[in-house]
């Protein structure tokens, strides 16, 4: 078995260059946990891997739990964008769930504040 493990490593490691990994959130605008002085008209999320558009979603909700995004997000490569309704001052919760091109799903959530 020791030889098997060593042999597997030697064979497999060079093949890694063609791989794709999980898509994790790289940065967001508005930034994660930030406070912005004026209401953004759009939320953009940038991920560490390219996304499958049909299976990647994002929701933005206000403190009462009501949706404040414009609906279906636009996905291009590793970016996901969604329009926002006019946001009064307050705290907003973002929940995203994406499928990377290697078919792994990841999800996460964060908040940002407007006008406080």
């Amino acid at each position: 078995m020791r030889n098997t493990i060593t042999a597997a490593m030697l064979v497999l490691l060079p093949l890694g260059s063609a791989a794709h990994a999980h898509a994790f959130l790289d940065h967001a605008d508005p930034r994660v946990g930030s406070t912005v002085p004026t209401a953004p008209r759009e939320l953009s999320l940038s991920f560490t891997q390219n996304l499958e558009p049909a299976f990647s979603t994002v929701e933005v909700r206000d403190a009462a739990g009501a949706r404040v995004d414009q609906g279906k997000a636009r996905v291009s490569a590793d970016m996901m964008l969604v329009g926002l309704k006019p946001l009064p001052p307050g705290t907003y919760q973002v929940h995203w769930r994406v499928l990377s091109v290697d078919t792994h799903t990841t999800e996460g959530s964060f908040s940002f504040q407007v006008g406080h």
């Binding site: 493990i5 990994a21 994660v32 930030s34 799903t105 990841t106 999800e107």
Partner: protein, 321 residues
Amino acid sequence: MPRLILRALSLATFSALLPVSDALAHCIVGGRFFPATLTVDDPCVADEMSFPTLQLNSANPSGRENDIEADFSKTITQDFGVTVSSTWTRVSPPANAGTAGPVGYGFQNFETTPQFQLLKDPEHEVALLAGLIVDWGNTGAAGVGATPWSTITPTFYFGKGFGDLPNSTGFVRAFAVTGQVGYQVPTTSFDPVAGSPVPQNLVWGGSLQYSLPYLKSNVIDLGLPDFINHLIPLVEAQFSAPVENNFGNQFVITGTVNPGVIWVGSYYQIGVEAIIPINRSSGTSIGALAQLHFYLDDIFPSTLGQPLLGGKPQTTAMAGR
């Protein structure tokens, strides 16, 4: 309209064929990623490989010991996997008095661990896992302490991230804990060479980790350098106590506390820790631990990174969620 129907059918077909792999990943539960910890196991079945894991001057009360370890984990189904482990040891003086020379070296007993995923709760970042660690007797070298008898350890593993705490708790939400507890049963009760009973042991351990990747993507993006945003500082600890068949021996809890840090990349992680014995029965000096760990599910997402059986059962329609 026909184009819409065709598009819907295409989407449905794509959805049906897609190997959506929520449960296949290395240990991701909701927004929480539990890294492969160096001392205790993470609470998930996974396709991953650690090589090498180097222990320099590892905890050994009777001498100096260095280890090189390899671990390979493979999912059989989405919730069931097996880990095989092998460790090469160099110890001075040899563990077995009958070993020639001042240094003993060779392989420890071969180890296998079937594991079953009991729970993954994304909302509360909780993972539960059950495993059976089998140390196969007489497969290693007596000179490094490998026993002629086997040891079976039913083990329970858990992980909990604190991301479900209220937003007002802020930075605390990036903390997570993992742990494991097992009951070690040897297949013999008496060691005829040493002339002493072989005790049954309670073995337990855990980790307290602070995830800077989680802080950046789920709590607050502080604009830290990219390298820092990939770090998970942590403290691990492992302990063992004889609880049965310990006649004539002193009751002593042994263990180590291992502070360190893990750098997490897309395809691999690198971890380093210090090994601090909790008492002289656990070791006489501080050692070091380093590990290179590969995420096979990311390196080979459609082959080796898939379960052997049932790798494409999920057809979760995520669109519209």
